[in-house]
Structures are given as C-alpha cells and as structure tokens.
C-alpha cells in the first residue's frame, strides 16, 4: 500500500467512559470527558495547526500555533492544554487566530533554513505543512538577525543525524526520550533563545546516554533528527505492515519502502505490543537482511572438509533426502531429527515439526526453547494449566508492585522496559532479584525499592523465603486461594513453605540476601494492590529452573495476583517467535497446542488430518540428540535457523556430536557456526521476505508480511515441504494462510485464527476460539486453564556446580541492548559500534587481586573449557560473580558453560558456571582451533 500518514490527534486519549458535548466551529460533537480541545477538534474532523503536540506525548503547550477562542473565556487558550468542558463553544479559525498563527510561524521561519527543496524531509515535514496552512508569505524580520543556522550537525550516531539548524525547540524529542523511552538522555540546554536540544551533558549523540531507540527521530516534526537512510535515499513511496524479527516483544512496524528497498522502519502506533515504540534493533538494525554475507543459493558438500558447492534447489533437496533416507535405512527411522527455529514463522515451524513426525516418522523434534524457556512451559503448565505468560504487556500500566527476577528488560526487552519504566515513574514499586545491579535498580527517575543481589543458583531459596514470609506473616490472599486453587495442594505447600528451613533467616547464608530485605520485599509484594512478576532466563536457565517458575506461580497464587490486569506471571521471551515455536508443537513430547504425543485423541486427530500413523513415544530432546550422536545412534539433523554450535552449552561437546553425524542440513541466512559441520545448506528468508505469523511473549499472533520476494527464490516452508515430499511424504500448501488454516483446524487454542481475521486489523492473543473470538489478553480471569490452580512443592536443592579454590568465581551470562542472541543479525549491522566484542564484567576487587586491569585479555576457564576474552571492571557485579555475553562466536562463552541442566526439562544451567579468571596473552586453544577450521573451509565461488 502507498504511504498513509497516521492521523495525529495531537494529544493522548483519556481512559473514560463518560462523554461531554461540545461545539466546535458550530458543529456539535460528543467527545470523551477530559480530552483536549485539540483532540476533540481532531475527532470532529478539524485538525488545529500544531507543532509541539503529538498524540504520543502529553500536551506541552509551547509552540502556540494551536490557539483557539472559547466563548466566555479570556484570551486565546492553547487547544492542546485546555481540556474540553461540557457545553464549551470553540472557534478554531478566526481572523485573530489567523494573525497569531501567522505571526508565530513568521518567528519560526525567521530562524529556519529555506532549503525545503533539498531538505531530507521535504514532503514529510510538519513545519513545512503548517507554514503552508497558516499562509505565511513573508518574513518581515529578515534573516540577518540572531539565529541558529550555523549550528553544527552531529552525525555521530550510525543511524540518524542531528541538525540543530533545523530545530524549532518544540521539545518533542526530549519528551519522547522521557515519556516514551524513559532514558532521559536528551535535554534542553540553556534557556530562552539559546535553548537547544542536547544529548547528555552537551555530548554528541553517540557518546551520550542515548540508546538509539529512535523515539526522538520519530517525534521530530522537522528535519532536525532524520534517519540516515532517508537523508541518503529520500522519502518512501509505499509501506507494508509487519512484525519485528528480534526479541519476544514482537513490535509491529511499518516497513517503509522505495520499491522493494526498505528506507525506514517505523513502529506502528496501533501495534498491540509496542504502540508506536521501538528499540535500536527493530527500528534501525535491519541491514543484515540484505547483507552481502547472505547465502542465496543452496549448497551441498560430501564432507565438512570439502568446499561448499552451489547447486539448484532440486539437487540440494534431492541430495539431502537421499542422505537422510540412507541414514534411516542403515540406523533406523529414529536416527534423524529436526530442530525448529524460534526466529521463523509459526507456519514455517509447523511444517518442520510436521515433516519430522510425518515424513521422518519419529518425534525427534525440539526447539531452542529447550535452552531458554522450557521450564516456563513445564512450570506454568503444572501450576496454571498452560505454557504461557498470563498478561498482555499493557497490563504493567496497572501494576503497583513489580518483581523483576532474572531479567534485564532495558537491554533484552527494551520496548517492554519502557512501558514498565513509565509505570515505575508513576509510582509503582520495584523489586529486582538479580546478582547484578542491572539498570533498573537505579536509573534516571527509577529506583528499586529492593534489590536482592542473590548468589547465582539460589533463586528457589529466595522465592521460597518470600513465600515463607507471606504465609507465616498472614499475608496470604486466603479468599483467592480458597476460591481459585486446589485446597489439598495449597495445604501441602503451606505446610512445606512454613517450615523454618524456608525462612529468610535460615536461608540468608545460602542466598546472600539479608533477611530483613527479603522480608521487606515479600511484605511489599504481598500488600500490593496489584503485584506483577516479570522474569527471564535468569529464572529458567538453572538446574532448578522449573522449580523456580513454579515458585513464582505459587507466590502469585498465594498473594492473589492472577487473573486480572496489573498482575500475573510473565516470562519475557527471548526470541521473536519462541512462544509460537513452542505453541506449534516443537517438542518431542507435544503436538501443536501442548498435547502429549501419547494422548490418543490428539494423536488420532493429527493422524486423520495428515493421513499417516504417528509414533506415540516422545522423541529426543536436543541434549539427547547430542548424546545419541556421540554414541552413534543419531546420525542426521535438520536445523532450521538456529546456531546450536554457538548458543548451546559446552561448545566442545556440541561440536563433537555434530562432527559425528552423517548429514546435517542447515537452513539459515548466513553460514553460521553450525554450518561448519553441515553437509547441506538451504538458504533461508529474512523477515522482510516471510509471509506468516510470529507469536510474541504476550501470546499475540502478529502478521509478518513480505515486503519483497524471497531472495533465494523459495519460501522456507516450501523448502521443508519439498524435502518432506522427497522423503516420501506428500505435503504441500497453496500459501502460508493455508498452513495457518490447518493449524487452526488441529489446535483448539488457535481455532479462531486465520490470516483473513488478522489482516482485517484484529490483534489476537491466543487462546482464540469460539469462546474468545478476538483472543484473550489476560489469562485465567475466570478460573485457571487447568481448573483450579495447583501449588507445587519447590524444595531448594543447590546446583552441583560448585565453586572451589580452583574455580572460585561464578560466571553468569546474558545479553546487552545493541546485540541480539548469537549476533547473526546484529553483528551484520552498525550496532556493532556499541558492542564490537563480548567482554567479561568483573568486580574491581576480584580483578585487583588477580592483577587484572581494565581492558586486559583474560582467560576465562571452567571445568569444561576455557576461552580468552577482554575484561571490563564493573562495580555492578557483586564480588565473586563475573558476567559475559555470547553475541560474538569467537568469544566462546559456551565453551565454558556446562551441561548441567534443569531437572525437569534439560534447560541448560547457563547462569551458573564455576570459573577462574587469569591474565592471558593469547587466544585459547578452542579459539585457535575455530580459527583454523574456518580458514580451511570457505564457501565455493
């Protein structure tokens, strides 16, 4: 569709069901009580000229273009800051107003360059539009007076330019940074005519605290803040509504295009997840999609030591099928399997698991959620009855006390973090449970009421102690428990949790958290009107990950914080479609919709529809696949868009397992680490070429729409179908919509979902069925999915990974804002300017006693392996704990991590590895081996 500008109503909506009647230029209209005169007029179809007002920001009243006359009132009030009152009679256009508006515009233009025709925002400039509307014909002040036309441009940011000569000091950028993003990086410096927008303390944008979310660029009504792509290419001429392919927030975007080329990604105002906001990744870091590293031709090779050979699709698919069939012939049908990708669409994932079950004839399908949120599935299913977060993101705006545990939303889920920070600025209280002092603990206008810096690995002890306080101090919501939860499980849990061994005092030495802080935090949460829990991989990636998820669910049930807005237990999902890939049956034991493969009813439904008999036995999980590969019984693997060789723990173990297989098929955009071990490479499609849906962390099913044809000439789901057919199973679809139709027909929670419905503008959060035709924003509102909530016993068991004299420190891993996961995408964008390499954060004291200074190369070694990395001294680390990220393959964070895993789901314990850190002067053995491996095998020309 061509470019359609959103109708900007000038000021935000007001939540009310009352209306008042007003008269605008003689026309009567009923408008919500409390909206501004400006918004009322816009609703009535009259857009009052404005520059500083925009409906994503609170009214400010600075530009003075939007003045109106109101019967019975003195002067000319600003329509943006004047709320409507019943019976008000408003004139938006009078000779007096015309004079003032023209006079104000004359002042603006007296200090503005007259280069409209060569300006980057020519055609998309509110100042230009307003000047046209007010009929300014001359600037009588002349242009020789004091001005800002010589102000220097700041082009330091890799994605946008700041040209203060074009600034009208409307403060929209500053307010966007404060109100929308919540970073407070921008300010107006000086006063009066000297007022100017300044990043930080008069720094350039790049060196300031700016996080490049782009909200300021979007808010700017002139060319002052402009995307470099727009400066370079000009204005877009068409747009496609789609969904970001980065984290689990799932932001909606307008891809703005010139032909098939993206020139700008603008977050969509009506996007349920993001409501017009974005982060640096979604808005700016999409250049990887057309990066020259993209592989666009299928490739095969006999041995991994051979060079890659580009072949036709037919040859590649035939070759892959032949090798897989050969393996099955020799080693049995169970000797191959597949891994689905959480970055692919629901439709693409669905066909892969279908291929495994129907064409491979086994259940050896797993997904990367195994290594991130599998404990969420287990924990929430057992307690609440379904494997998903309970809330929509919007819900946080109603929370009074928020627990953030094992999550770092400002880095990993920035758009949701902005929502949360807005609520915290409004006065909600925050409890952070994390070994590190993450930004939320203390940042501009945000301060946690409690930061509980627990020892890594002691989550369950902390949550048990909090629950102990709730129960023993009589803070339990007994009415909720009596009505909504299983009595028997509650009583059993209550007796367990009340035991002295679960008291904060008893666990103080274990957790390292002071008993008084813990009691304070527990009381704060229990006494909250609305208490909400948000958590991340710091909860799940532990040997007791599932226990901790259940511990959180227990706490939420005991305090009555489930089933309405402002409460809930909310996993912050890592990847764009990790929720969806789980929903789509990417588990060896579950079909789409989380139904066990041994369930005859579910199985026969799939058998009937797929016209094939299905294995009732669960297949292999990813770690089992590796183990089976090493013992020779598992020989072939289809890996869809996941880099297990970089992202899974104990890299050396993974590498030897992969090396032991006979045929590995990798489907990806780039030759990743896993591709080093592959024999077939199917080029994949970027999100800009996909047609389908992603499901975000709030269960919202978002449409992903292609902005251009697949660069390698084939939809990914079609590749999968063709492989299945080549394996002997007939499978094919007209289009992606047909796949969703099949999903809907076989999955009760998706029964009401179709592309037609999604394309009609309905935003759906599953379950979506006859009972909830437009989806379910808040789950368990009238009762738990499983009927009554079940309290689960969560005995704290220390991890087997222990520190000792040889490995005295604990390594915990995570992410940073500018990079994403294994970095395959972000490392191929200008984001690397902020994070060019992974570093090891270490407390200054731990560094000092090891003779380590800032920037030194250090060896990070565990019982499993060692890697060499640069040290950064940081007092946000507690003593005894070090931290790194895994965005760059050469850093080898997972060479160090262990295979210890969650007792219930095998989710690896990434967050606790006993390590030693010593000064180093060369790369580790592993890094040198990797270097050699990659030097030998380059893709064929």
């Amino acid at each position: 569709m061509s470019i359609k500008k959103d109708h900007d109503l000038g000021t935000p909506s007001v939540e009310t069901d009352k209306t008042v009647s007003v008269e605008i230029d003689g026309r009567h209209i009923d408008v919500p009580q409390g909206v501004s005169v400006m918004r009322a007029a816009a609703l009535a179809g009259t857009d009052i000229p404005k520059l500083c007002a925009t409906d994503s920001l609170d009214a400010f009243g600075s530009c003075r273009l939007c003045l109106v006359e109101i019967d019975g009132r003195k002067g000319t009030p600003a329509s943006c800051t004047t709320p409507v009152e019943a019976g008000m009679s408003i004139a938006t256009q009078t000779p007096r107003l015309e004079r003032i508006r023209r006079g104000v515009m004359e002042l603006y233009i007296s200090d503005h360059p007259l280069d409209c025709l060569t300006c980057a925002t020519n055609g998309d400039c509110e100042l230009q539009d307003r000047a046209g509307e007010v009929g300014l014909r001359e600037v009588r002040y002349g242009y020789e007076g004091e001005g800002h036309l010589d102000a220097e441009k700041d082009i330091s940011n890799p994605y946008f330019d700041f040209d203060p000569a074009k600034c009208i000091v409307c403060s929209r950028c500053v307010r966007a940074c404060e109100e929308i993003q919540g970073t407070h990086a921008l300010t107006i410096q000086a006063r009066g005519f000297d007022s100017k927008v300044s990043a930080g303390m008069d720094e350039d944008f790049l060196s300031s605290e700016c996080v490049s979310c782009g909200a300021c660029v979007q808010a700017c009504p002139t060319a002052t803040l402009t995307e470099k792509t727009i400066v370079e290419h000009g204005q877009p001429n068409r747009e496609v509504l789609t969904t970001c392919a980065y984290c689990g927030v799932g932001c909606s975007f307008k891809a703005e295009l010139q032909g098939d080329d993206v020139v700008r990604m603008t977050p969509h105002k009506d996007g349920g997840a993001n409501e017009g906001h974005s982060c640096v990744k979604g808005r700016f870091a999409w250049g990887y999609a057309t990066h020259t590293d993209r592989i666009v031709s299928p490739m095969i090779r006999e041995k991994t030591s051979d060079p890659w050979r580009e072949v036709s699709w037919d040859e590649a698919i035939g070759y892959a099928a032949a090798r897989f069939k050969a393996i099955q012939a020799e080693h049995g049908v169970g000797a191959i399997g597949g891994i689905t990708s959480s970055r692919c669409t629901n439709e693409e994932v669905y066909v892969v698991q279908k291929m495994v079950r129907a064409a491979f004839k086994n259940n050896n399908v797993d997904t990367c959620a195994r290594v991130c949120h599998s404990p969420t599935g287990y924990g929430l299913k057992n307690t609440f009855g379904t494997s998903a977060g309970t809330q929509d993101f919007k819900s946080v705006a109603k929370a009074d006390v928020i627990i953030v545990v094992g999550a770092n939303p400002t880095d990993a889920h920035p758009v949701f973090a902005s929502r949360m920070k807005r609520r915290l600025r409004e006065g909600a209280k925050l409890i952070v449970i994390d070994p590190r002092r993450i930004d939320l603990v203390r940042s501009p206008h945000i301060e946690a009421a409690y930061h509980l810096p627990l020892r890594p690995g002691t989550n369950v002890a902390v949550i048990n102690a909090m629950a102990h306080v709730v129960i023993t101090e009589g803070l339990c919501d007994e009415a909720f428990v009596a009505e909504r939860c299983e009595d028997k499980s509650f009583k059993r849990w209550r007796d367990f949790i009340s035991e002295d061994e679960n008291s904060p005092e008893a666990l103080e030495d274990v957790t390292g958290v002071s008993a008084s802080d813990l009691r304070g935090a527990a009381r704060l949460f229990a006494n909250a009107g609305n208490g909400a829990i948000y958590y991340g991989l710091g909860v799940t990636e532990h040997s007791q990950g599932s226990s901790m998820v259940m511990g959180l669910a227990n706490l939420a049930m005991a305090t009555g914080n489930i089933g309405r807005e402002g409460v809930g237990v909310n996993p912050l999902r890592g990847q764009n479609n990790v929720q969806g890939s789980c929903d789509m049956g990417s588990f060896p034991h579950e079909y789409p919709g989380y139904r066990h493969v041994s369930d005859p009813v579910a199985r026969s439904a799939f058998e009937d529809h797929w016209k094939v008999s299905l294995d009732p036995e669960p297949g292999l999980r990813i770690p089992n696949m590796f183990a089976a590969a090493l013992d020779g019984s598992f020989k072939g693997l289809y890996v869809q868009g996941e880099d297990i060789a970089q992202s899974d723990p104990n890299t050396k173990h993974v590498a030897s397992a992969l090396a032991d297989m006979d045929c590995i098929i990798v489907q990806d955009l780039f030759l990743n680490e896993t591709a080093d071990f592959a024999h077939v490479f199917f080029p994949g499609t970027s999100f800009l070429e996909k047609d389908g849906t992603f499901t975000n962390a709030e269960r919202r099913i978002n449409r992903v729409r292609p902005v251009k044809p697949a660069m390698q000439g084939m939809d990914e789901w079609e590749t999968t179908c063709r492989l299945a057919r080549a394996m002997g199973y007939e499978m094919g679809y007209r289009n992606a919509a047909a796949i969703m139709d099949e999903i809907a027909s076989l999955t009760p929670t998706f029964a009401g979902v179709s592309f037609d419905k999604l394309d009609s503008g309905v935003s759906i959060q599953w379950p979506c069925n006859d009972a909830n035709p437009v989806g379910t924003p808040i789950m368990h509102a009238d009762g738990f999915v499983r009927g009554k909530g079940q309290f689960m016993l969560t005995q704290y068991v220390p991890t087997d990974e222990k520190t000792n004299r040889r490995y005295p420190l604990i390594l915990t891993t995570g992410r940073i804002l500018s990079q994403y996961n294994v970095g395959a995408q972000t490392r191929r964008t200008k984001n690397s300017i902020w994070h060019g390499e992974d570093v090891l954060e270490i407390h200054p004291h731990d560094a000092d006693i090891r003779g380590i200074s800032e920037g030194d190369l250090v060896s990070l070694g565990s019982r499993i392996g060692a890697t060499t990395i640069r040290a950064v001294l940081s007092d946000r680390m507690p003593q005894g704990v070090v931290y790194t990220t895994f965005h760059h393959p050469e850093s080898g964070a997972n060479v160090v991590t262990t295979e210890l895993s969650d007792w219930a789901t095998n989710c690896p314990e990434y967050k606790v590895t006993a390590v030693q850190v010593t000064l180093a002067n060369m790369p580790s053995d592993w890094q040198m081996e990797r270097e050699n491996r990659q030097a030998v095998v380059e893709p064929a020309e």
Binding site: F60, C63, R64, G103, Y108
Partner: protein, 535 residues
C-alpha cells in the same frame, strides 16, 4: 534570645543605653556593620555602657545607615551615618539625647514613616528579626493562635472577606485560591511561598524575610491550617543569602517553640517548613516555573490548566502565594477581616507596599492603603527626583510594567485604576526616570530583558523577544521606521495572545506604553528624545 543577641559593652550596666542598628542587607550594603563596629569600639574606648540590638530596616533606605537610640522610652534616629560620624556622635552626647546634625528626632515622627499605614511592615526595623519574645510582645502569633481554633473554612472565609489579593502581581483573590486548595481531595497538599523577588526596584519581600520572618512563617502556617497543607516550602532567590540565613534561623526558633511541627498551638494540625534556594532565574518567579524548580527540575513554565491549586507541587494541590500576601494574613486573622478590609479602595483592599527606586530623592518602602496617587508617592514620600531633573516617565510594576508619563502621575494606585490607564501594579515597584531617559532604548531593554530571562518554552517569548529587540534596534537606527513599528505592534499582539505565561505576555507593556507616550523617541520622528543622552 534577646540576651544572646544583644551586646553589652562597658562597665555600668545600670546606665546601659540601647542602640538599634539595622542588619538588613540594604543597610549593611551602605555600611551599617561598619557603624556598629565603630560604635562598639568607641563605646569601649569611652567606657560607655551600650546595649546594641540589630534590628531589620524600617525601609527608609534613603536614611540608611539609620541608627536609633532609645532615650526615655523613645527611639531617636540618626542618619544617614558614616563611620566618620561616630566619634562626633559620642562627642555630642547622642546617647543621652545630645544634638547632632544627623539627628532626625524621634523616628516615629519622620514624615516618610509617620505618614505610612504600617500593617504588614509594622515590626520591620523595630524588633530583632529572630526574637520570638519581641515578636509576640508586638502582637505576633495572635493570628495563628486564633486560626488554630478556627475551622479551615472559617479561616478561608476570613481571608476572603478581607479582600486580600495576590501581591505578587496578578492580584488574584487569595481567599478564593485557598478555597480551591481546601476543596481539593488529596493525601498531601503544600503551601509554597514565592520569594523569588526578581523585579527591578523591588525589595519588600526581602525586607519581610530579613526584618520580620516570623510574620511570614505565621502566615504560611495559617495557610496550611486553612487548606489542609502540612508541608510548606519557601523559594528564596539565591541573590538573598541573608534572607535565607535569617529565615532558617527563624524556622529553627519556631520549631524550638513547637510553633512548627506537630499539633501547632493545640490545633491538632501539623505544618513543617523548608527553605529552598532559588536557582538564579527570573522566570522562577513565575509560579509554575517556581514549582518545577522546587521539584528539582529546570524552571520551565507549565501550561495551565491544571492550576497549581489543584495540581501544583509534585502534582498535589498547592497554595502558591507571594511573600506579601502571606505576610498580610496574620493581621487579618488577629484584627479581623473587617479591619483589613476597611483600608483601601474599590476592589483593592488593605495596604500595598510601594517600593520607590530609580531617580528618587527619598527611596524606600512605603506601605499605605490602596488609592494613593502615584504623584503623592513620588512627590510627597519620595521628595521628587534625586537629580533634581523633571520626571519624564515612571515604570510601575517591575521590568514588564508600563511606563507612565509625567502627565499621568495622578493615577490612583490600585489594581483597577492602573489597569484602566494601561498599566499594572505588579509587585509594587516604582522606578522613576528623569528627562534624560531614551524611551526607545527602554523599550529595547524590555525586549532584551525578556530575551535574557525567557525560559525558552514558548515561541512568542523565545524567538519574539529577540526579534523584538532587533526590530527596536532598527527603529532606533531610523530603518523603515513605520514598517518596523507596525511589525513591532504585530509582534506585541502575538506575544500578548500567544505567550504561555506573563513573561512574554507582559513584555508589550513597557514597549507599547513607551511608544504610545513617547512617540518622539522612536526612530527619527520629529521631537526625538530632546534630552536623551544629556548628562
């Protein structure tokens, strides 16, 4: 307190003489401290028994440093004094009523003071500023003690009945403002006193804070009792270090006596008070910018609505009053609304503190009932110009007030009469200019002042003031005078109608009044500023 702060010299305490020397910063700026030192030294040298008390100033600044000697229960004034006069004074036996050329006779009989109606300023220069005993013995705390046993609504009614209007310049009825705050439902309310006295030629707020701080504190407590506010802030400009120090001392004294804190005077109502130092910007005298500054933000004007009475400091209902409004309250409560209401004229009730400055012979503070003419203030109280040159223009109400020509001096000094003549009372500052003034330069100065002090939020003020000054430069240089005067007038309309606050909204007043009354000064027109640039 009195024992502590008085200085006893000499060896004959029985024949001790009390000398009052002002400690007001204006008096100190012309040497009051030096005089005190010299008297102490001289008294010691002569073994004279002297008890020296440091009072505030009575506001007759043209007589400062003005010392007073208590003789037979009467205070006899000497001033203005230099250090060189001290020895002479002793020689002439001033401690016992000896005559001296600088002797002014009984202070109470000095016409400048005698002819005033001192209500709010009655203690200024009379008592030691932080002496609670003296404060109480001169009628202090009577209003508070009364208010403590009145309901909030009764207090509000009394203030409404008195006819008191905001003395900061806007003249909004204080009682109505309080009623709004009283009626607002909130867990926390505030009283904020605006003591960011920034108008050129004004000093009445400083006088109160340095000379009679308890009065203002009492007024703030009563405001709290009337509205349900339990926390007060006073925003004192940083250029008033002595006022800040004195005020903090006064707060400590009242806290020590339980007059600040919990259950004040048995009322069951609490009030605490904190001094906040201004951050050095004229715009912080605008109430909403002051609130921003109090909140720790840069002082930026807020759009209204919401009004501060409903959403003020930290978004809570807030009484924002000027120093003089709050200082008028204790007497209204003590003596009754009628007594206050009996003073004044029309809708301007009570007294007003006029502050004479500029080219004036007898500069100082004149508190008198509304309705006195500007001419009486300048000629009778002020004694005409100090230079002896004829008055050409008088700016009333601070740097954004209108210029009144010599022909307009008979205007009555009240809100309505001034408004009718195109002027405004503002904070009561009166600056006199003689016939050498170039009114076009004054108009340009007004725009420059606005440009300098604008917060920069709204366009008419931020850009308009700069363009206004530039246009006036052109006019003064004779460049397209007619077209530029038209442009200037258009700009004034944009600034009046378009500005967010009174800063940009009032800048037109000095500009347009100068053009209206002194067209000859603007750009090569006949009769241009005949006397301009003359010495």
């Amino acid at each position: 307190m009195s024992k502590k702060s008085s200085i006893v010299c000499g060896v004959h305490p029985m024949s001790e003489i009390t000398i009052y020397i002002p400690s007001d910063s204006a008096a100190r700026s012309v040497g009051a401290d030096d005089i005190a030192d010299a008297i102490r030294t001289e008294a010691a040298r002569r073994h004279a028994s002297v008890r020296m008390l440091r009072t505030g100033s009575r506001g007759a600044y043209w007589l400062e440093p003005l010392i007073e000697v208590e003789i037979a229960g009467e205070r006899v004034g000497y001033g203005p004094l230099g250090v060189d006069d001290v020895s002479d004074l002793f020689d002439s036996g001033f401690l016992t009523g000896g005559d001296h050329p600088k002797c002014l006779g009984p202070v109470a009989d000095i016409p400048f003071l005698k002819n005033q109606t001192r209500v709010t300023f009655k203690r200024c220069g009379v008592i030691e500023p932080c002496n609670l005993t003296q404060y109480e013995s001169t009628g202090g705390l009577a209003g508070l003690r009364k208010a403590a046993h009145m309901s909030p609504a009764e207090i509000v009614d009394a203030v409404t009945q008195s006819g008191l209007r905001g003395r900061g310049g806007a003249g909004f009825p204080t009682g109505i403002k309080w009623k709004t705050v009283l009626g607002a439902d909130a867990t926390q309310k505030y009283v904020c006193c605006n003591a960011d006295e920034g108008d050129s030629g004004t000093y009445a707020d400083r006088m109160i804070m340095e000379s009679d701080p308890f009065l203002l504190i009492e007024g703030m407590i009563i405001a709290g009792m009337a509205t349900g506010a339990t926390q007060g802030f006073i925003y004192i400009r940083s250029e008033y270090p002595q006022a800040i120090a004195t005020f903090n001392q006064a707060i400590a004294a009242m806290q020590a006596e339980g007059l600040l804190g919990e259950d004040i005077c048995g009322s069951g109502r609490d009030f605490s008070l904190t001094v906040r130092r201004g951050a050095g910007s004229y715009i912080c005298g605008e109430e909403s910018a002051m609130l921003d500054s109090l909140e720790g933000k840069r002082g930026m004007v807020r759009a209204k609505p919401p009004i501060p009475a409903l959403a003020g400091l930290f978004g809570k209902p807030t009484v924002v009053n000027n120093v003089l409004s709050l200082a008028a309250v204790p007497d209204i409560l003590a003596d009754g609304a009628d007594a206050y209401q009996a003073l004044g004229t029309g809708r301007s009730r009570g007294t007003q503190a006029f502050q004479l400055a500029g080219d004036i012979k007898q500069g100082g503070l004149v508190e008198t009932a509304f309705g006195i003419s500007l001419r009486d203030l300048i000629e009778d109280f002020g004694g005409g110009t100090r230079s002896g040159r004829p008055v050409r223009a008088v700016q009333v109400g601070g740097p954004l007030g209108a210029y009144i020509p010599a022909s307009g001096l008979d205007v009555d000094m009240d809100y309505e009469a001034l408004a009718a003549s195109g002027a405004m009372l503002g904070h009561g500052g009166i600056v006199v200019f003689n016939d050498t003034v170039d009114m076009a330069a004054q108009a340009e100065f007004a725009m420059e002042f606005c440009a300098e002090e604008s917060c920069g939020k709204c366009t008419p003020c931020r850009v308009g003031a700069v363009r206004g000054a530039e246009t006036l430069t052109k006019i003064r240089g004779g460049e397209n005078v007619e077209a530029n005067l038209k442009l200037l007038d258009d700009l004034c309309e944009v600034m009046v109608d378009g500005s967010l606050c009174a800063m940009g909204g009032l800048t037109h007043m000095p500009v347009r009044s100068a053009i209206e009354h002194f067209p000859e000064d603007f750009g090569g027109m006949p009769g241009v500023a005949e006397n301009a640039a003359k010495p």
